[in-house]
Symmetry: C2
Subunit: 196 residues, 2 copies
């Protein structure tokens, strides 16, 4: 009997493709084994557990996502950079729904710190915001706002949450415009009447 020639990377890549095709939830060791024409148990030499497989798909997707964002943002600044970032983000989420869903799972913080992709994400996001002249802690607040909106929009869209007939792309463009307005007029110390 010939071997399937499995490696950890090939298994993870196949899992990512399967996630995009049938949903991240339905990525199972059994289905993956069937895809390779192999018994379930064989996969456990390459991947410790289903949990680890999912984390690996998440890290793969996170890396791909930030690579595409970095390429889109390169050489732009201000509103253009924001629009490029947003466009690349949503395009990836739409093109790779299963991979994108993978990025939402909880992953051990130590693994995140090890991953260069995640560090790059912070780097690029903060760099994009430089044009708006924010200082800490507003910078972190702005990053959290952007991440939240981008992620929330893609998640709701993927879940079919936008029922209204209004074009989803047009709403997205308007949302990005609105975020630009918010960043350009960032609320600094709004009437600090609190405290003593």
């Amino acid at each position: 009997m010939p071997r399937a020639g499995l490696t950890t990377d090939r298994v993870v890549a196949a899992a990512a493709d399967l996630a995009d095709a049938t949903g991240f939830e339905s990525v199972t060791v059994s289905a993956l084994a069937r895809h390779f024409g192999v018994k379930d148990a064989s996969l456990y030499t390459h991947v410790r557990s289903l949990q680890e497989l999912r984390v690996r798909v998440a890290l793969l997707a996170g890396g791909e996502l930030i690579d595409e964002i970095a390429a889109a943002v390169a050489g732009r600044a201000g509103k253009e950079a924001l629009a490029a970032f947003a466009g690349a983000y949503r395009a990836y989420a739409l093109r790779h729904p299963g991979r994108y869903a993978a990025t939402q799972i909880r992953v051990d913080q130590s693994l995140v710190a090890d991953s260069p992709a995640l560090r790059r994400t912070a780097e690029i996001t903060y760099g994009m915001l430089r044009a708006y002249g924010l200082a800490e802690p507003d910078l972190t607040d702005a990053v959290r706002l952007l991440r939240s909106t981008f992620h929330g929009y893609c998640a709701l869209e993927a879940a079919g949450g936008f029922g209204a007939p209004r074009d989803v792309q047009a709403s997205w463009d308007k949302a990005v415009d609105a975020l630009h307005v918010a960043l350009a007029n960032w609320p600094r110390e709004p009437d600090g009447s609190r405290g003593h």
Copy 2:
């Protein structure tokens, strides 16, 4: 042998509590049956399938969520209403993580249309935005922006996505401020020559 006295409502309520306690993903028919001291098969007289159980939990949570939001928003307008809406939203998500996670699942659009809670959600959200004087399609765009940001923030927070030492509540308040700025200066006439 005495009966457990199960009803559909009691089963759904227990499922919601279990979701809050151990995560929505780990709500299983078996675990629920163990909780009631009953065999798995017994639950299927009250609930057609795990899928239906999840949908029922989602509808329950959606109703509770909008009730709390409605109470918080009542009698307020403009920025105050926005802050009250946001505060109630996030408070519910933090207090009931499992129930909140349930609201994210895909649910058949016909069921959503039947649910009065969902219609109320739209009503209250659009009502809250009245003070900003937006007209369609900007109104729909603004609603989508708010929903996305609120949901994205709560989802990322629940997933442990905010690693920076910056206080999460403070970032949330700032994000709500920023959304108010965006709504108050809503970008009309997207001619793109602005800020050139």
